[in-house]
């Protein structure tokens, strides 16, 4: 066998965002950028079942979030999706270990962990008008989304999870195949707001941004 050198491409690779990225400035009233190549694991199980909840916490170290909320910790962000579904957003290189831990913890339970790392990506949307931008795109009452909240809703004609960590911006978890459409829609709707593809802020304690810094196994991330 030849010496294969696999590379990964994020769903937004065709926009070549790294080349467009500029430093964040206050004049950019809406900013966005991708948190590429993170890990995503769908956890299925009755969250109200203590055994399932404990198993999730045992495998991930994260508390099971209450409805329309997310919890976070070292393993990443655990987003409530429905009474029997959570989405774990994590660093890509944590995925194998987390899947294994889930499989072990879920033994004997009616629960499962499904890797969806190739199917999703996350966009950080910020700037003073980022809520206005969301109001351009979707019918949900985005002004009511406070830190720790997640809204599973529709932007334009595609689904998205809208997670708020703090007042600065929101993290949009979106599907790979709709990412191109949503990015175009965001940039279009942001026309009045001096839109910029801005450098992501320092990770600090941000539960999402830390996952990018936690590194991905991308040996040769290549542009399209």
């Amino acid at each position: 066998m030849p010496n294969f050198q696999p590379y990964l491409q994020s769903p937004l690779v065709n926009f070549n965002l790294p080349a467009q990225t500029v430093p964040a400035e206050a004049s950019q009233k809406v900013r966005a950028n991708e948190l590429p190549l993170m890990g995503y694991i769908v956890l299925r199980g009755e969250l109200a079942d203590t055994a399932v909840a404990q198993a999730i916490t045992k495998a991930t170290g994260l508390a099971v979030p209450t409805a329309c909320r997310f919890s976070s910790g070292d393993a990443g962000v655990l987003i409530w999706q429905s009474p029997d579904e959570c989405l774990l957003v994590t660093a890509r290189n944590y995925v194998p270990a987390l899947l294994a831990a889930c499989t072990e913890a879920f033994a004997g339970l009616f629960a499962q962990a499904v890797d969806n790392s190739g199917g999703l990506t996350t966009v950080y949307l910020s700037g003073v008008e980022h809520v206005t931008l969301l109001r351009h795109l979707g019918v949900y009452d985005f002004e009511s989304v406070t830190p720790g909240d997640v809204a599973s809703t529709v932007l334009g004609k595609a689904g998205a999870l809208v997670c708020r960590v703090d007042g600065d911006g929101v993290f949009l978890v979106i599907r790979r195949s709709f990412a191109d459409y949503l990015w175009l829609l965001i940039t279009k709707a942001a026309t009045p707001y001096r839109f910029a593809v801005a450098k992501l802020p320092a990770a600090g304690k941000s539960p999402f941004l830390r996952l990018v810094d936690a590194g991905s196994p991308a040996k040769r991330p290549v542009a399209a």
Binding site: M1, F4, Q5, P6, Y7, L8, Q9, S10, P11, V13, N14, L37, V42, R44, D84, E85, F110, Q112, V114, D115, N116, S117, G118, G119, L120, T132, R135, H136, G138, V139, Y140, D141, E143, S144, G156, K157, A158, R175, R176, S177, F178, D180, Y181, L184, L185, K188, A189, T191, P192, R194, A224
Partner: protein, 1005 residues
């Protein structure tokens, strides 16, 4: 020349900011703050258009959204907008407008000649006249279309853009007049999230026109500016001007259109700001303070240019500093119009006020008018206006004080303008869009809405029929206080006070009599935009149209861009008189959105061009683009269609792709197929129920093709499902059916079989699938994969294996949609592009050929594989498709559609069944959808036997092939049928639908 500029202290134009503009090519001057209408009147322009049916000369009648006549074409090229009301177009420097009617010219109109014979053009004229011959219809249509309509839709791309904005508020106030402002103030002070929208360029409503109004002892406009200052200071309140709430829907969703940049010169418009914005507002509570509109009286030749409503003339004067004429006749049946007469006289016009009431208005008002120099004529009415392209005077009649009849002839008066006031009509539209109904209030002579509003809606001010400011404000204060109680808030503020003034009773009058039977005097128009005269309504009733909805449709009353804002109530009243019924019993027509016209651009917002609909891409998109793929949309996915090389046609490219795949190796992006992870102890049982075939014995490591039926036993989806573990399956669906199938699984699980322990998780986007197809596919894969034994014995057809492909973890399925040896490599989609390129590289020595959906279709048709939705149409059972092998009638539990498969209709022998067709001439590729006949001499009405579902040229077979559904087809192999297409019949032989490798040797290789 009649209209002219005057200076008014109340004027809202900026006399220091002149604007040049063009109207019908003529350079004219106006000021910032003008509307196009006010500027045109100031320039003495009277003739604005020709009427719809008779081509009669028409001028400006109103001052806002009620305007029926002054429809203009604004700007040119991509910026052009048809049929804007000149009364609503804000003037800007460089504005360019043209009239929309008049052929060949506005001043000489051919339709105007027809108008001369208008007595031969009654309602229903077109239906009655153009009855035959039928063949002449295209000609009639051409001429009628030329004669009808107003402006022209733009043909160039729109250089501007539009967007949508959603709001969630506690209170939405519609209307920024005194009552709306007070409602917003109270809601704002109570801390409620409040949004106020107003149609005009500034808030104030009628206060902008009525200079004498006082609120809380100060000029009303001062009070208005105080309210606006307060509202602007409240962070919980937003005020949007130039924003028309045009629709009210279920659950208090209100749509409003904001004209963001329409008032700016084209060159001054910001390319980063939308031209218009559609606001979608969800409000806990809506306060309708949409006010009222003055309607004219109906009298002879009341459509001559220079005829206007009194309110319009008062507005042009006080708000825009434009007097509509030097010698003005004003006819009224109420007190309020005296203010217009007074103001015009004060500004220098010679005004004769013709009050249809013998006693006239309250004494103080008569005194005020006389003091200003107004001549009063009490007990008179205008029978007929004189003049053609402009008013020259009017003939009066003396009215009987008690009945609406003529008592005696009156004088002829010369004038350059004729105004009338027939009272106010409440703007009840939004209240009625979502099932609300107005009621007739005899006191206010209007259809009004109830004081108490309805669930979620409060009504405030003159929409309730309160014409006097004091009463309107008091009602508003009470209604809003009640609303605040509902929010658990208190009212912070005293009700604003306006003087209660003595009023004389209004005369109940709509059609001013001229002493002649209806239809014999001068035409008295009710609806200007549709040329509906009082006599037309009478005729409609005589022809037995009894419902007002039918009268409307027969006469066209209330249609058009003004939606009958001036005409409806007069029309209802005249119909009531003709029907001999009270108006309340006649009722109103149905009020529907939109209140005013909305551009398509605003409705579309950002859902245009490349974001009109999601375009879903696979991870390999850039690889396909690099190789010159053309794409087709499949269920929103952009799938490579074919990969032309050089100047290849599609036909040539597909032939090449097919042959390469059959003879060596091809590669296809199959990532778009739906994928669902099915897991749980009852997963197997669930599959048994949802698929028609059996799943109990499928071992891990194996795949099976399944058919999904609906309750009627008809095929709704198909796909291959792999058993990953005893309780774990990887289901695939058709590309377009992925979401539908997931919903289908969830629906049956959640509603019928919740006891089954199984869960479904979509993994469509997670997996990238590269299908390596053809005799050399094994050799290609062997170069990339060392940890899977790819030998025919170890890795059989319909097996799957887990391993590593090009260094990436993968699930490899040995399945085939072409009948060839084939492998589908599934990897995490982030590696999708990488794997594709690795496969291309590894296949280079075999001439690996990427192919798209078109080649896929040919390959599968050669093998007789169906495509759900192409070879099926919702009426095909598995038996019809000769796929009885995929139905497990012996399964212990039923499966979806099972019962229906034994219905008498589904077991009929002569159902349409899937067959193959070989045309007699192998070069003929039949048209898909073409009908099949049994005999060559079948004539209409033909005995249709079925139709062609798939048809291609097969390069591999060197001839055409087709799949078809044919009545009793399973028993007709060998028959000759005739396929009708484009006027020709093509003989074809019924054959098996498997054209290539019937034994399946190739796919098992």
């Amino acid at each position: 020349m009649s209209g002219y500029r005057v200076h008014r202290n109340s004027q809202r134009i900026n006399a220091q900011a002149p604007c040049q503009f063009r109207f019908d090519g003529k350079q004219l001057k106006g000021f910032a703050g003008d509307t196009l209408a006010s500027a045109l009147i100031a320039n003495g322009t009277r003739l604005i258009g020709r009427s719809f049916k008779y081509g009669r000369p028409r001028g400006i009648v109103g001052h806002g959204s009620e305007e029926p006549n002054a429809l203009i074409q604004l700007e040119t090229g991509g910026y052009t907008v048809p049929d804007l009301k000149a009364t609503q177009v804000e003037l800007y420097d460089g504005l360019n407008a043209t009239t929309t009617t008049g052929f060949p010219s506005l001043h000489f109109d051919l339709k105007g000649l027809a108008g001369t014979f208008s007595r031969f053009m009654p309602p229903g004229f077109y239906y009655k006249t153009f009855m035959g011959p039928i063949k002449a219809w295209p000609l009639y249509e051409k001429i009628i279309r030329k004669a009808a309509g107003y402006g022209r839709a733009p043909v160039d791309p729109d250089p501007e853009f539009y967007d949508h904005l959603h709001h969630h508020v506690d209170v939405l106030v519609v209307g920024g007049g005194a009552c709306g402002l007070w409602a917003a103030t109270l809601a704002g002070r109570a801390g409620l999230k409040t949004l106020l929208v107003d149609e005009q360029n500034e808030a104030g409503g009628w206060m902008l026109s009525d200079t004498s109004a006082q609120i809380d002892g100060k000029p009303a406009l001062k009070w208005v500016s105080e309210r606006l200052a307060e509202l602007n200071s409240l962070s919980n309140v937003t005020v949007l001007t130039r924003t028309t709430a045009f629709a009210h829907h279920e659950q208090n969703l209100v749509q409003a259109l904001e004209l963001v940049q329409d008032h700016l010169p084209l060159a001054a418009r910001d390319s980063h700001t939308p031209r218009e914005r559609l606001h979608k507002i969800r409000a806990h509570h809506v306060v309708l303070a949409s006010g009222s509109i003055e309607r004219p009286l109906v009298y002879g030749n009341n459509d001559r240019p220079g005829v206007m409503t009194a309110a319009a003339a008062q507005t042009y004067l006080n708000r825009y500093g434009v007097a509509v004429g030097r010698k003005v006749l004003l006819m009224t049946h109420n007190d309020a119009a005296y203010d217009a007469a007074r103001d015009l006289a004060q500004a220098g016009s010679r005004v004769t006020l013709i009050d249809t009431r013998l006693r006239g208005a309250a004494d103080w008002r008569q005194h005020e008018a006389k003091s200003a120099g107004v001549a009063l004529m009490l007990g008179y009415g205008i029978a007929e206006v004189h003049g053609k392209t402009s008013v020259s005077g009017a003939r009066l009649v003396q009215l009987d004080p008690f009945t609406n009849t003529v008592r005696a002839r009156g004088p002829r008066l010369s004038a350059d303008s004729v105004l009338s006031s027939g009272g106010l009509t409440s703007t009840v539209h939004l209240f009625c869009h979502n099932n609300g109904r107005p009621y007739w209030n005899e006191n206010s002579q209007s259809f009004v809405v109830p004081d108490e509003g309805r669930q979620g809606i409060s009504c405030a001010g003159s929409i309730t029929g309160r014409w006097e400011l004091s009463a309107a404000l008091a009602q508003t204060h009470a209604a809003v206080s009640a609303m605040l109680l509902g929010f658990g808030r208190s009212t912070n503020g005293e009700c604003p006070v306006s003087d209660e003034r003595e009023l004389a009773p209004t005369r109940r009058l709509f059609r001013v009599p001229d002493g002649l039977p209806e239809g014999h005097g001068a035409k008295a128009f009710v609806d200007y935009q549709n040329d509906v005269a009082a006599a037309d309504i009478h005729l409609a009733v005589r022809e037995n149209y009894r419902s007002i909805e039918h009268v409307k449709r027969y006469t066209a009353l209330g249609f058009g861009t003004d939606q009958g804002k001036l005409s409806n109530v007069n029309g209802f009243a005249i119909a009531a008189e003709a029907l001999g019924k009270p108006i309340a019993e006649v009722g109103t027509t149905t009020y529907r959105p939109a209140y005013t016209p909305v551009t398509f651009g605003a409705l579309a917002g950002s859902h245009v061009g490349d974001t009109f609909d999601p375009r879903r891409y696979t991870a390999m998109q850039s690889a396909h683009v690099k190789r010159g793929a053309l794409f087709e949309t499949v269920g929103q996915w952009m799938r490579p269609w074919y990969f032309p090389k050089g100047k290849e046609t599609m036909h040539q490219a597909v032939d090449r792709e097919c042959l390469a795949t059959r003879n060596s190796v091809g590669v296809m992006d199959a990532s778009t197929l739906g994928k669902i992870d099915v897991k749980g102890p009852d997963a197997r049982e669930f599959l048994n129920r949802i698929y028609s075939n059996a799943w109990s014995k499928l071992d891990p490591g194996k795949c099976r093709y399944g058919l999904m039926l609906d309750e009627n036993g008809m095929v709704m989806d198909d796909g291959v499902t792999a058993c990953l573990a005893d309780d774990h399956f990887h289901m695939t669906t058709t590309t377009g059916g992925a979401a539908r199938v997931l919903n289908w699984l969830e629906r049956w699980h959640q509603t019928e079989w919740p006891e089954l322990k199984v869960r479904f998780t979509s993994t469509t986007d997670h997996w990238s699938t590269t299908a390596v197809v053809g005799p050399k596919s094994r050799a290609v894969l062997q170069k990339l994969c060392s940890d899977i034994d790819l030998s025919a014995d170890a890795f059989k057809f319909m097996d799957w294996r887990e391993g590593t492909v090009a260094g990436v973890p993968a699930k490899v399925f040995r399945i085939s949609f072409s009948g060839e040896l084939a492998y589908e490599i599934n990897v995490d989609a982030c590696y999708g592009h990488y794997i594709w390129e690795q496969v291309m590289q590894a296949g280079e020595e075999f001439g690996i050929t990427p192919y798209g959906t078109e080649t896929m279709h040919v390959l599968r048709a050669e093998k007789g594989f169906i495509i759900v939705g192409q070879d099926t149409d919702g009426s095909m059972t598995p038996i019809d498709l000769a796929m009885g092998w995929a139905v497990g009638m012996k399964k212990p539990f039923s499966f979806l559609g099972k019962r229906s498969l034994s219905r008498s209709d589904t077991v009929r022998k002569d159902r349409k069944q899937l067959v193959g067709l070989y045309t007699e001439d192998p070069k003929v590729v039949l048209a898909e959808g073409a009908q099949i006949l049994s005999t060559s001499d079948d004539a209409p009405p033909a005995n249709m036997q079925g139709h062609v579902t798939s048809s291609y040229h097969s390069a591999f077979l060197g001839r055409s092939i087709a799949m078809a559904v044919l009545k009793g087809g399973s028993q007709r192999e060998g028959d000759t049928v005739y396929v009708w297409a484009h006027g020709k019949k093509y003989p074809a032989k019924v054959v098996s639908s498997v054209f290539v490798d019937q034994e399946g040797v190739r796919q098992h290789a």
